[in-house]
């Protein structure tokens, strides 16, 4: 592998790392906590996978993101937020299952990369349910995990003896990528709608945060 190729790979990883840190920052984690969580996803991705019966999972690609979801759900402001997270994950799992089947599978036929579309689906579903960045992350991570478990069970029912892999792509797995895309989409849509609703007349900016918006303290 040439130096240029390694540089490109490192640059791509840094972009994912940076975006991931910004996303985890919205998960009730401090700046440092978000950095540590992202580092755990990166390092955990390099640790060999764990196999439990027919399921194989990765620490960075599955365990850490799922633990973050559990942490966010446990600290939900209200039972409504908690159930919005759970319902969003279940609906996203169904949506991903449907998308898997309805999107073209042949490489020439693909019009939008499937690995990007899961996060978009999760972001939209979470936003419709509760205009929530945290909900978007939970929908994407738990939705994909549930969907992969369901597909694994369906394979077994069909007699296909295939190991169920959850997040074994580590930091580059669809679970992590989708979680990031979902939050960024919810953030983008949220900021746009809030900006339109707020209008320019009422803006007050201090240190980059909007003082009179719903995001300000």
């Amino acid at each position: 592998m040439s130096v240029g190729m390694i540089l490109l790979l490192v640059a791509a990883l840094l972009v994912i790392f940076g975006l991931g840190q910004r996303v985890l920052d919205r998960m009730r984690l401090s700046d440092r906590g978000a950095l540590i969580a992202m580092a755990a996803i990166f390092i955990g991705g390099l640790i060999p996978d764990i196999t439990l019966g027919p399921v194989r999972f990765n620490i960075g690609g599955a365990l850490v993101p799922v633990l973050i979801c559990i942490y966010v759900l446990a600290r939900a402001d209200s039972p409504g937020d908690f159930w919005r997270g759970i319902i969003g994950a279940v609906i996203t799992a169904g949506a991903i299952y449907a998308l898997d089947h309805f999107l073209p599978s042949e490489p020439e036929a693909i019009v939008f990369d499937p690995n990007y579309i899961y996060g978009i689906a999760a972001g939209i579903i979470a936003y419709i349910l509760g205009r929530s960045r945290r909900g978007a992350f939970i929908s994407a991570v738990l939705g994909l995990t549930l969907c992969d478990l369901f597909i694994g069970i369906m394979n077994r029912v069909r007699g296909v003896n295939q190991i169920i892999e959850i997040g074994t792509g580590g930091m580059l797995d669809a679970i992590v990528i989708s979680g990031i895309i979902a939050v960024l989409l919810a953030e983008l849509v949220g900021e746009t709608i809030e900006r339109i609703a707020r209008g320019r007349g009422r803006q007050e900016v201090e240190d980059g945060a909007v003082r009179d918006g719903r995001r300000a303290k």
């Binding site: 920052d25 609906i91 898997d100 042949e106 490489p107 020439e108 797995d173 953030e187």
Partner: protein, 384 residues
């Protein structure tokens, strides 16, 4: 909230329970069913057929290195019109020895520092004339082709690792599952990552050919354009085609520039190879593996790499060619990050001053206070 949940659930159920082939395991399901598009030139001459929907602005590099762009699509009749765009500039291959290295008979194993990784996203793909079906859940004929490709590389003195992990069902989610296999292979730091497929068009004639007296199938090279490596991937594909055109004229059918990623974001030297279609025989497809392995070995390790006497000139040329794509990839990433950050910050604050303040704040948070402006008070956790 109950109303929203009900609507979302209804949408999902409509998708999942729709009376279609969605729940089936049919191999060649795609958005146009069993049909396929014929893409023609404005003169009416057929250019190629493809078992997928075609869209305006789709690009295609033909076997004779001409770039075509789709200008019109007739969805009712499954036809499209393409116009000639330009001659594709192919990489110089003057480093290639006139009499390139013949395939070695040594099958004792490869070189430790030359590594190729092979996998198949659609492990069920099969060849009807040889396997009796187009899809086999327990591992289709495509795995035999992948195995033959591994052996072909080893004949060239290159170590090849193959991962035959199944990614069923055969749907678009297979790329999500094969990504895990690809990432696992990438941990071995291979020089190239190959995803082996076969096409799904019904016409075998599209792929049947004779190269140097050998009846074989042509090979389609497929690269994606939805990732930061797309330019480097394309340069790699063009290098393979340029060398193969010299060594085995007619072996490479074309370069298809698809809209997906195909896990090619994992390395600039990733390629998707399609050996024939489901109506060609597997044996013919296997015959193409020796040739493509020879050409790829030349691209990656230089002319005469198989017998150990060649220089690494080809390798250097390929690296230089690839580096131009890598440079574009890094530039793409930098532009993407800067534009996205600026757009987001402006959207969130609505003013130039606010945008700069937000960027400083985010930079500080991202770097743990090393760079940017440290926020006066931590507002983490104040968003829903």
């Amino acid at each position: 909230m109950i109303k929203r949940v009900a609507i979302l659930l209804l949408c999902c159920l409509t998708f999942v329970l729709a009376p279609s082939r969605a729940l089936g395991e049919d191999d060649d399901w795609n958005d146009i069913g069993d049909n396929y598009y014929t893409v023609k030139l404005e003169s009416g001459e057929a250019l190629f057929t493809v078992g997928a929907a075609v869209y305006v602005d789709d690009q295609y590099i033909s076997g004779d290195n001409k770039r075509y762009v789709v200008t019109q699509v007739d969805a009712e009749n499954y036809t499209a019109t393409a116009r000639y765009d330009s001659d594709e500039e192919m990489p110089a291959i003057d480093w290639l020895k006139p009499a390139f290295a013949p395939v070695s008979s040594d099958t004792s194993g490869g070189s430790g520092d030359r590594l190729i990784a092979i996998y198949a996203t659609h492990t069920d793909e099969s060849y009807v004339p040889s396997d009796g079906t187009s899809s086999e859940d327990d591992g289709g004929g495509i795995l035999d082709v992948a195995d033959a490709l591994k052996s072909a590389f080893e004949k060239q003195g290159v170590t090849a690792v193959i991962d035959t992990t199944s990614h069923l069902p055969h749907d678009s989610g297979a790329y999500r599952r094969s990504r895990q296999t690809a990432v696992s292979l990438m941990k071995k730091m291979p020089d190239a990552l190959i995803d082996v497929h076969r096409d799904g068009i019904p016409s075998a004639e599209e792929y049947l050919t004779e190269v140097e007296g050998v009846d074989t199938t042509q090979v389609r090279l497929l690269v994606g354009r939805s990732n930061q490596n797309s330019e480097a991937n394309k340069e790699f594909a063009k290098s393979i085609k340029a060398v193969a055109d010299e060594q085995y004229p007619g072996l490479i059918k074309d370069i298809f520039i698809g809209k997906g990623t195909y896990n090619q974001d994992l390395t600039p030297n990733a390629i998707l190879l399609e050996f024939g279609t489901h109506t060609t025989s597997k044996e013919r497809a296997i015959k193409a593996t020796d040739m493509i392995a020879t050409s790829m070995t030349s691209v990656l390790y230089g002319s005469g790499a198989a017998d150990g006497v060649g220089s690494n000139t080809g390798s250097k040329a390929a690296v230089q060619s690839g580096n131009s794509g890598v440079g574009k990839g890094i530039l793409f990433l930098v532009i993407f990050v800067v534009v996205a950050a600026l757009a987001y910050a402006f959207l969130a604050t609505g003013s130039g001053k606010g945008m700069m303040e937000k960027l400083k704040r985010n930079t500080s948070e991202l770097t743990g206070g090393l760079l940017g402006k440290k926020p006066d008070n931590d507002r983490g956790g104040d968003e829903s």
